[in-house]
Amino acid sequence: MQTVIFRTAAPYLASLMVMFSVFVLLRGHNEPGGGFIGGLIAASAFAIYGIACGVTPVRRALYFHPMAIAGFGLFLSTVAGLASLAMGVPFLTGLWTEVHLLGVTLDLSTVLFFDFGVYFVVVGAITSIALALEEREED
């Protein structure tokens, strides 16, 4: 798939898709979307970039190993569940708070961080599989 058009378009396409995945992730807070679907979009962005430009640039661009990203996501989700430990409510109870930052009110919750964790698990796991498959193709 090393055509000039695809190779030129892929970086733009991939960066757009990653931005869109973050949008879908945050939108999932109150509307359809969320960590899982956002993670899938981001993972497909990395897969496209890998198909166009090879796996090594993707690994270099990600910096962290995809499995480490997935591990971080799992860790983040579990910690988000454990946050309710301090409040005397059961595991995984959603806790909500508002932060006023530079005149903007920001709704923060443990649910949001749980969703971030899901996002990273999906990005890490799917990217890991996709990159491994693409590497095999180059042999």
């Binding site: 190993h65 997935a70 430990l85 059961p90 959603g94």
Partner: protein
């Protein structure tokens, strides 16, 4: 304040109002701690020198939490925490009763011992491929299955430990391992698919997945609902998981292929999750269906017991022999389920705990025999009694324990089961338990006679031996033998706990009441 797009809904009526004390968290800690540890190790996957230390710390904390949980449920009855604070049956409940807590404690204990053994058995490459994260996620899945109070959640934990066990199974990527893993994966996925289909069917009938809710609704639905079909499908799915005859063929085909420490954890833990699921569904959820199916379960139990032991006699690879001994033990546990009286269930619960400890230890001893003599094959082993007397003593203890002879842990559960079988007028079950014990004695006695008493067979294997480590070798087996000897010599506390677990199974009113306490009992 922020602009609220919709009017705030008062959800307090749908939430658990009782405060969750810090001590209540022991019900989730046996699952949350290993997941945290496993995730952490995935993040630092290249720093393999950290893996063992983090794993031990996490397993130790998990073990402490399971023991705290066990002591608490023995004292106060089942402990419930409903995730996300939503009232059951809408929130997913973790319901730890004596059965689940004691199995979780035994499983975590056996895994901790295996993790120490892995220090020698798993090399740097194995660690790099993620042995320790897989181990932690597997024990998280196993503990989750033991402690959850929700049928679909049980399926999820099955998947968690099955996926982790795939990773452990192919560690090393040898051709033989892939071959074993394919059989293991396909047959386990068939079993989980049947399980999932059954859950879907059950949900269509009951409209709930909370086990306590199913248990209290089962009586009202028995007239019109196809509960018998659901129960039979569960027997099929969990019987396959537990490696009961005639669905046991995946176990001997795969358990001898991975590293010996992986075999040890699989043989000790994974089949017992299937037995646990059978106990839970057939006593708490479907007691009437269990009584109807009891003859079927009894035939399955007898065939599993006897054919497992006969299969072991036909093998020459020591790992495969142990695999068949595991299967034979599953039959003994199913015998208690077939009888179904509180006494029989006591025997089954105690036998399962004994089996978790002894089957793990038996695989580890086989691994030590390989280190000492350079081979897994009975054709090559020999002369170990002279060269390794301590190992011979440990193997002798294994023979006694697995066969159910005093002074080790196999004796009392079999005594209880035989007594229950006689009380239940099931003389053929009594005969089968005793015959399978004799056969197991012959099987392991044959291993002992050939590997230890026979003179050394092949001196060329000496190049493949290595000295046995005092801690990661003998020490781990010794640690597993301590509770086994304890059960054998002073069984009262263990029989008491197993009796409590069996009483909780026979009379699920307390189990149901603990889940729905917040709604005034029902």
């Amino acid at each position: 304040m922020a602009a609220v797009t919709s009017a705030p809904v008062d959800t307090s009526a749908a939430l658990v109002q009782a405060a969750t004390s810090l001590l209540d968290w022991v019900v989730i800690a046996p699952v949350a701690l290993p997941i945290l540890g496993g995730a952490l190790l995935m993040m630092v996957r290249h720093r393999t020198h950290l893996h063992a230390a983090v794993t031990f710390a996490v397993l130790l904390a998990t073990l402490v939490s399971t023991l705290m949980l066990l002591s608490r449920v023995v004292g106060d009855g089942a402990l419930v925490m409903t995730m996300g604070r939503w009232l059951p049956p809408f929130g997913i409940s973790f319901t730890a009763d004596v059965l689940g807590a004691s199995f979780a404690a035994a499983a975590t204990f056996a895994t901790s011992a295996a993790a120490v053994f892995a220090l020698r058995d798993i090399d740097a490459t194995g660690r790099r491929y993620g042995f320790y994260p897989f181990l932690l996620l597997m024990i998280a899945g196993v503990n989750g299955a033991f402690l959850t109070g929700d049928l679909f959640n049980l399926y999820v934990w099955f998947e968690v430990f099955v996926i982790s066990s795939f990773g452990l199974l192919i560690l090393g990527s040898e051709r033989r391992q892939i071959d074993g893993a394919v059989k293991y994966a396909v047959l386990n996925l068939i079993a989980t698919t049947v399980f999932l289909i059954t859950i879907g069917y059950l949900y269509g009938v009951f409209g709930t997945l909370n086990m306590a809710d199913i248990a209290r609704k089962a009586d009202g639905l028995r007239e019109n609902g196809p509960l018998m079909t659901i129960a039979t499908l569960f027997l099929l799915a969990f019987g396959m998981k537990a490696a009961a005859f005639p669905l046991n063929f995946w176990l001997p085909a795969s358990y001898h292929t991975p590293r010996i420490v992986t075999s040890a954890m699989f043989g000790g833990l994974l089949t017992k999750v299937g037995v646990y699921a059978l106990l839970r569904t057939f006593t708490t959820l479907f007691p009437v269906e269990r009584a109807i199916l009891s003859d079927v379960i009894a035939v399955v139990a007898i065939l599993t017991m006897v054919l497992g032991a006969l299969g072991a006699l036909a093998q020459s690879d020591t790992r495969r022999i142990v695999g068949f001994v595991v299967i034979s033990g599953i039959g003994t546990m199913l015998a208690g389920l077939a009888i179904g009286s509180p006494l029989a269930l006591t025997g089954t619960v105690l036998y399962a705990v004994h089996s978790i400890l002894i089957m793990t230890a038996l695989y580890l001893v086989v691994g030590l025999m390989r280190e000492a003599a350079g081979s897994f094959s009975l054709h090559d082993l020999g002369g170990l009694y002279r060269s390794h007397p301590l190992l011979a003593a440990m193997m002798l203890a294994m023979v006694l324990a697995a066969a159910g002879l005093p002074p080790l842990s196999g004796l009392w559960p079999k005594v209880v089961l035989v007594k229950a079988a006689i009380e239940g007028n099931a003389w053929w079950l009594t005969a089968a338990i005793l015959v399978s014990s004799v056969l197991t004695t012959i099987v392991l006695g044959r291993v002992f006679a050939l590997a230890f008493w026979r003179p050394e067979q092949d001196t060329s294997l000496r190049s493949q031996t290595r000295p046995i480590d005092a801690v990661a070798g003998y020490g781990t087996v010794f640690v597993l033998l301590v509770p086994a000897v304890w059960i054998g010599l002073w069984p009262e506390p263990f029989l008491h706990v197993a009796g409590l677990a069996a009483a909780g199974l026979s009379d699920p009113a307390a189990y149901i009441g603990s889940v729905f306490a917040a709604q005034g009992g029902s």
